[in-house]
């Protein structure tokens, strides 16, 4: 099948790639644009480790056609840090030992960012709801919940400054 050109903003930069019309966004990110932040887990939309933000909305890159992202703004975990300065969520994940094998971590961070972007003061139930679509096999979820709540506590202070 003929390749089609796709252009979108990836973590703030204009990027273009040729994609098969049936290629998922995840395939184009990983194979076309060398962004290995989002992981290929189940490939069926159940595990959440491919999660990205498309125009600010949390989406599963494995179930999103790349061609449908034309002109969109795509954010992945690779763009979370500001140069050498990690995002408060990334620091909190380290401080709370919220990663073990690390395979779910990109999706967990992205789902958490989507939550904090719309609700900087979430309850424990809000956090559980936000990561309910992301599977973790190592941590028992509790350290991840604690890390997200801790990151939320640091956010307002940063935003004030």
């Amino acid at each position: 099948m003929a390749k089609v050109p796709v252009q979108f903003r990836l973590n703030g930069s204009d990027r273009a790639a040729f994609a098969d019309p049936a290629d998922s966004l995840l395939t184009v990110l990983r194979r076309g644009l060398n962004d290995f932040g989002p992981k290929y887990g189940c490939g069926q939309g159940t595990c959440g480790t491919c999660s990205v933000l498309i125009d600010g909305e949390l989406r599963l890159a494995c179930l999103t056609l790349a061609a449908s992202c034309e002109g969109a703004s795509v954010e992945t975990v690779s763009g979370m840090a500001d140069g050498p300065n990690l995002h408060p969520l990334q620091n909190a994940f380290m401080e709370h030992f919220a990663a073990q094998c690390g395979f779910c971590t990109p999706g967990m961070l992205t789902a958490a960012k989507a939550l904090l972007d719309r609700n900087p003061n979430p309850s424990r139930e809000d956090v559980i709801d936000a990561i309910a679509g992301n599977i973790c096999r190592c941590t028992g979820y509790e350290p991840i919940i604690q890390a997200i709540l801790a990151a939320a506590r640091t956010l307002p202070a940063q935003r004030r400054s």
């Binding site: 189940c42 069926q44 159940t46 595990c47 030992f97 990663a99 073990q100 094998c101 690390g102 956090v127 559980i128 709801d129 990561i131 309910a132 599977i135 096999r137 190592c138 941590t139 028992g140 979820y141 509790e142 350290p143 991840i144 919940i145």
Partner: protein, 344 residues
């Protein structure tokens, strides 16, 4: 129709490693010309902390900053031999192998430094900050980096060490049947509180409390992380995980892991942990290792708690609502057992 609360307890004596064919682990350490050390292992780190623990053990034994130690577990084809990551053996077996390798490497390091300082190697000490100096005379010193460079470019000496730790095969005494399956045991006790719905058969874990005796805790945060994650795996194993939940007819069972049931972040139970340290005489700095026993006591504790709540003894895992409802029906109704103890 009602919800019944129950409490169950379980204790574990857990053997660290095994010795069915003998249980060896090897480690190799060498210095690089920049004065940093590479530890080569075939032990695998799947997130359980093998790299971190062996890095701490190597740095402590070498007497250098932890930042100057790199652990390479890249390739079990080309790396030194290890039996594997199983039976909670990693910290104990590999930790001891790393200590042996680091001691030998430290010996060569101090000899090379002694040659540069023109002193006896036995008189040298490390400060753990990247310096080697004469005991009682800190001004007579040389950095580990300068020593590594002198060894490499001037003395023609390899600062390196080999380590192996072997639990030899223990054969069975033909007269008594006795054998010595292990040298180190870790211990745990866990209490679980559950609520069982006698209409749906569903079990909610309300809370758990445990005490773990793990020898010297080499990295407290990673031990806590492993115990918390492992307890969740225990709940998952006890109540959820099976490829065929719709027994006896598997026709409508899950087809792949996407339909394999595990508890999610909304199914967690509050969990409090107490860590006891009773250093193992043959452990690396007294360490044993939490490993598999993070999950083990959760299963019998929950099974006991279900029995305590409704009087149903489920003997095969997982403890599904269907098994509980069948048990309640066979007993002619829920039969709550006597309760002991206060709040967790």
């Amino acid at each position: 129709m009602a919800r019944f609360r129950g409490r169950g307890m379980a204790s574990v004596n857990y053997p660290i490693g095994m010795n069915l064919g003998g249980d060896p682990s090897q480690a190799l350490i060498h210095s690089n010309p920049d004065g940093k050390f590479t530890v080569a292992l075939s032990a695998i780190d799947l997130g359980q902390g093998m790299k971190q623990v062996t890095r701490q053990v190597a740095a402590e034994t070498l007497g250098v900053p932890i930042e100057d130690v790199y652990v390479d577990t890249a390739d079990s084809d080309t790396g030194p031999h290890d039996m594997g990551s199983f039976a909670s053996r990693g910290t104990h077996r590999m930790g001891n192998a790393v200590i042996a390798a680091a001691r030998e490497a430290r010996g060569v390091l101090l000899e090379a430094a002694a040659e540069e300082l023109e002193v006896n190697a036995a008189d040298l000490v490390t400060d753990g900050k990247g310096n080697i100096h004469v005991k009682g005379a800190p001004s007579r010193s040389i950095t580990v980096r300068a020593t590594a460079q002198a060894a490499q470019f001037k003395q023609g000496k390899t600062i390196a060490g080999r380590g192996i730790f072997l639990i030899p095969l223990s054969s069975v005494d033909p007269e008594t049947g006795e054998m010595n399956p292990n040298t180190a045991f870790a211990h745990a006790c866990l209490v679980a509180d559950v609520e069982v719905d006698d209409e749906t058969g569903e079990v909610s874990v309300l809370g758990m409390s445990s005490a773990y005796e793990l020898g010297r805790v080499i990295n407290p945060k990673m031990v806590e992380q492993q115990l918390v994650g492992g307890a969740w795996m225990g709940i998952s194993h006890a109540l959820y995980e099976t490829p065929e939940p719709y027994y006896p007819n598997p026709d409508h069972g899950p087809r792949d892991f996407n339909e394999y049931l595990m508890p999610g972040p909304g199914d967690l139970a509050p969990y409090s942990i107490t860590i006891l340290e009773r250093p193992a005489p043959d452990g690396p700095f007294g360490g044993k290792g939490p490993g598999e026993m993070c999950a083990n006591p959760v299963l019998p504790a929950i099974a006991n708690a279900v029995y305590n709540a409704v009087g149903v003894r489920v003997n095969d895992l997982p403890i599904t609502p269907e098994k509980i409802l069948r048990g309640i029906r066979a007993n002619g109704g829920a039969k709550p057992q006597a309760r002991r103890g206060g709040a967790l």
